[in-house]
């Protein structure tokens, strides 16, 4: 990865890391904006417990469906809970689902990709066929069916999303491994008598991981979206947990009768966060190889 060429005319301003950040931002504004959005959300998620004006799950039957304004910046929902507090708290939940899910996907997918790419043969064939078979389904239907059957637990949602992410990571890593397998440094590592696992994890992995890292942001975006969709359909995270999808689910009932705030605000938050993650992922992919848009879904 080539270094960002700093404009020679300017004197070196500020610490090196700042210059790198500016340099990267220049090359990929998408990445910069995405990262900025994400940092905002992360900050909100962290300080949410102290920032929220009301308890996000405090039901108040005497103040149901209040319009935005006054004590409730974004109004209250059908249970009398403050929408603004819930939207803030929802950020924490979004991270709480996306991060573990992506980790699960990496933990399952990367070793699979490494192994099948390196070894090839039977295992490779079978595993790739299974992944191809999974592509035949729209992933939302598959996720929905599994979570509906297994139960609306956070664990199930995270695991399902993670497992559905793993073929993507596996494919990306596998492609890298295939390219690297015949390179000289790998051959010399083999010749030196390294065991397979060492070759895979010490020699190949650091080079193969880049693609997966770039994909992580995109997969995180997908994780946030899918968990919201599952909650919207009533199959995922349940009320009164302040998950954005669950909020939109309740909001849907009131949207067409005029109490728009219940569903609109969580939707906007969801869009912004997913957009941030997508921009981050897009920018990362750009940086790594502007011409290679991973076709993997």
């Amino acid at each position: 990865m080539s270094d960002a060429a700093l404009p020679a005319a300017r004197p070196a301003l500020g610490p090196r890391w700042l210059r790198r950040v500016i340099g990267i931002s220049r090359r990929s504004p998408t990445l910069a904006i995405g990262a900025a959005i994400l940092l905002c959300f992360a900050a909100l998620a962290i300080v949410a417990p102290w920032l929220v004006p009301h308890d996000p799950i405090a039901a108040n039957p005497r103040n149901v469906l209040a319009a935005p304004g006054g004590a409730h910046l974004m109004g209250t929902d059908g249970n009398g809970m403050d929408v603004f507090s819930r939207v803030l708290a929802g950020a924490a939940w979004a991270f709480g689902i996306a991060i573990p899910a992506v980790i699960v996907g990496l933990v399952v997918g990367v070793p699979l990709g490494l192994y099948t790419g390196y070894k090839g043969g039977w295992a490779d064939e079978i595993i790739m066929r299974v992944f191809d078979a999974l592509r035949v389904f729209p992933s939302i239907i598959l996720a929905l069916a599994v979570v509906a059957a297994a139960g609306p637990l956070l664990l199930n949602v995270v695991l399902v999303i993670g497992f559905l992410d793993s073929p993507v990571f596996a494919r990306v890593v596998r492609a890298e491994v295939l390219a690297l397998r015949n390179s000289t440094f790998v051959e010399s590592a083999i010749a030196a008598g390294n065991p397979t696992w060492r070759i895979l994890f010490v020699h190949i992995l650091p080079n193969a991981i880049q693609g997966a890292m770039a994909q992580s942001a995109v997969r995180a975006a997908w994780a946030v979206r899918i968990s919201a969709t599952l909650a919207f359909l009533g199959v995922g995270i349940q009320p009164p947990t302040p998950e954005w999808g669950a909020m939109i689910r309740q909001g849907a009932e009131y949207l067409v009768t005029g109490q728009w705030w219940v569903g609109i605000f969580p939707g906007i938050a969801l869009i912004l966060m997913v957009l941030g993650l997508n921009m981050l992922g897009d920018g990362l992919q750009d940086l790594l190889d502007p011409r290679r848009k991973a076709a993997s879904k």
């Binding site: 039957p61 009398g80 067409v256 009768t257």
Partner: protein
């Protein structure tokens, strides 16, 4: 404050929104007048014994009973008078001195849409069907102590009871066991379908005012007037029963004049609808109770103090405001206020969180255990109510949580054979306005709508005795006992009786509230 039952039956003020008749309320399509109605789903069958979504709404129009309630007019609106039962398909009846044999004389000349005349044979066949199916019809038979129905001659039919019953006449007003045109039904029976149930999934053959003409599964049903109906022809000759799953869409259609009737509009919209110029809303006192039930057989609800504590912990007024937008009456008895023998004097669970905590401590309640309130989407108040109650319980330190289960799970687990949910929400009410019926349904250990394994030997004994008693005073006294015991045992967190609302085009009049919450299209007309 003792509520006068009669006043409540006659309902709170019927709010007719006045002014502009801007929407033509009735569109004549084809011959005669048509009523277009929007409902959550299209009817999925017309066998009154096997209730499916949409069945009851249509079946009550097509199948009428041997008897009917009398009527009164108050403030220009018709109401049922549950103290008066008249003959309908039957013109008269006699009882044996011991009260165990009744003979009903049928009116002559009553014809079905297929042209067949009503005979005692039809009645016998119909009740045999219900007995054989062992479902809702059989339950009604059981509740009224009926053991056999036999045709004596062309127009006389004999009911044999195991014991005298004061419920029988009221039960005979119901749509189930339905009175079928057995001549027509038998044409569609087969060896392994002797009651023509398959045919009844898409057809009706009754002696009522209406008759199913066509069904487009999942979309709509078209119901037409029975041209051979024994009374005056209805105003609306055709009813289009249209499936519109979204409640908000239904209201929009009503406001724009594209439909003329919707049942049970969303409560959050009723306030708005009441002032909408192109919509008329009418209400009637509810006879179903929305509640959170506790299963006495499952810990920690085995201890009465826990159940009572939970009742003290709940702020009913807040619930009615937040969940029902104020459109419900607080519940003070398991017997609905509009039923004779209603006694609210045993209710003393006014909101008292300190007392609740005290009781829980006395009962050595484990505050660390997780209490799940199970709810479904069968009734749209279930989710908000469960969340609010969980929240109120949390305020006294109980780790309560609202948990959703599927609709089919909720029904299955509440069925008499299972009843294994510790705490859950549901709505039930009697369709016969009789206190013994109400209690047999809800508080008897064998009650079909018990769902929470409430079982108290004294209650059972009182109900069983009342079922056979012909002494009105004794019956009322026994039912008071039941209400007292039940309220002391506090197996449910009683909350509210939601008001029943109907929304219609502004120039439709004649709605008469019925105990089954279904309008009768026969009553409606443009006026």
């Amino acid at each position: 404050m003792a509520l006068e039952r009669r006043d409540l039956l006659l309902g709170t003020a019927a709010l007719a929104a006045g002014s502009a008749l801007s929407a033509p309320a009735v569109h004549a399509q084809g011959a005669g007048r048509t009523l277009i109605l929007a409902a959550p789903g299209a009817p999925e069958g017309f066998d009154g014994d096997a209730l499916r979504p949409g069945t009851q709404e249509v079946v009550v129009q097509c199948y009428e009973g041997l008897t009917r309630y009398g009527r009164v007019i108050r403030d220009g609106r018709p109401y049922l008078n549950p103290d008066v039962i008249e003959g309908h398909l039957a013109e008269s009846w006699t009882t044996s001195p011991d009260g165990k044999t009744w003979v009903f004389r049928l009116r002559q000349g009553i014809r079905s849409p297929f042209g067949n005349e009503l005979t005692a044979e039809d009645v016998e066949w119909s009740w045999a069907k219900s007995f054989a199916q062992r479902r809702t019809g059989a339950f009604i038979a059981n509740v009224s102590n009926v053991t056999a129905v036999k045709a004596l001659n062309r127009y006389d039919v004999e009911f044999t009871l195991s014991a005298p019953s004061m419920i029988l006449l009221a039960a005979l007003t119901l749509y189930v066991p339905g009175i079928y045109d057995s001549t027509e039904a038998k044409k569609h029976a087969t060896a392994d379908d002797p009651w023509a149930l398959r045919w009844m999934e898409t057809n009706t053959a009754g002696y009522g005012a209406y008759h199913v003409e066509s069904v487009r599964a999942g979309e709509q049903a078209v119901i037409v007037a029975n041209r051979n109906y024994f009374r005056e022809q209805p105003h609306f000759q055709r009813v289009i029963y249209r499936a519109v799953p979204s409640a908000a869409s239904r209201i929009t259609l009503l406001r724009s004049g594209q439909v003329q009737w919707i049942h049970r509009p969303l409560l959050q919209q009723v306030a708005e609808l009441r002032s909408a110029p192109r919509v008329k809303t009418e209400d009637s006192f509810g006879r179903t109770i929305a509640s959170i039930r506790m299963n006495m057989g499952i810990a920690p609800f085995t201890d009465r103090r826990v159940r009572q504590a939970f009742n003290f912990a709940v702020d009913r007024q807040a619930l009615i405001q937040g969940v029902f937008f104020g459109l419900a009456e607080p519940a003070r008895s398991i017997v609905p206020p509009i039923v004779a023998g209603y006694d609210p004097s045993f209710f003393n669970y006014d909101y008292n969180p300190q007392r609740a905590r005290q009781l829980l401590q006395e009962a050595n309640f484990d505050f660390n255990q997780q209490i799940d309130i199970l709810y479904s989407q069968i009734f749209n108040w279930e989710e908000p109510m469960s969340i609010q109650v969980a929240s109120q319980l949390q305020q006294i330190g109980v780790r309560a949580r609202a948990t959703r289960i599927t609709d089919s799970d909720m029904r299955a687990r509440g069925a008499p054979a299972r009843q294994d949910m510790p705490m859950f929400s549901f709505e039930d009410g009697p369709i016969v306005l009789d206190p013994v019926y109400s209690n047999f349904l809800l508080t008897h250990s064998r009650g079909v709508s018990n769902r929470a394994r409430f079982a108290n030997p004294q209650v059972d004994a009182a109900i069983d005795e009342a079922r056979q008693s012909l002494d009105p005073a004794r019956r009322i006294e026994l039912m008071r006992t039941v209400q007292r015991i039940w309220m002391e045992e506090a197996p449910w967190i009683v909350t509210a009786y939601p008001t029943v609302w109907e929304a219609m085009a502004p120039n439709i009049v004649g709605w008469c509230p019925h105990p089954d919450d279904h309008e009768r299209w026969y009553d409606l007309r443009v006026g």
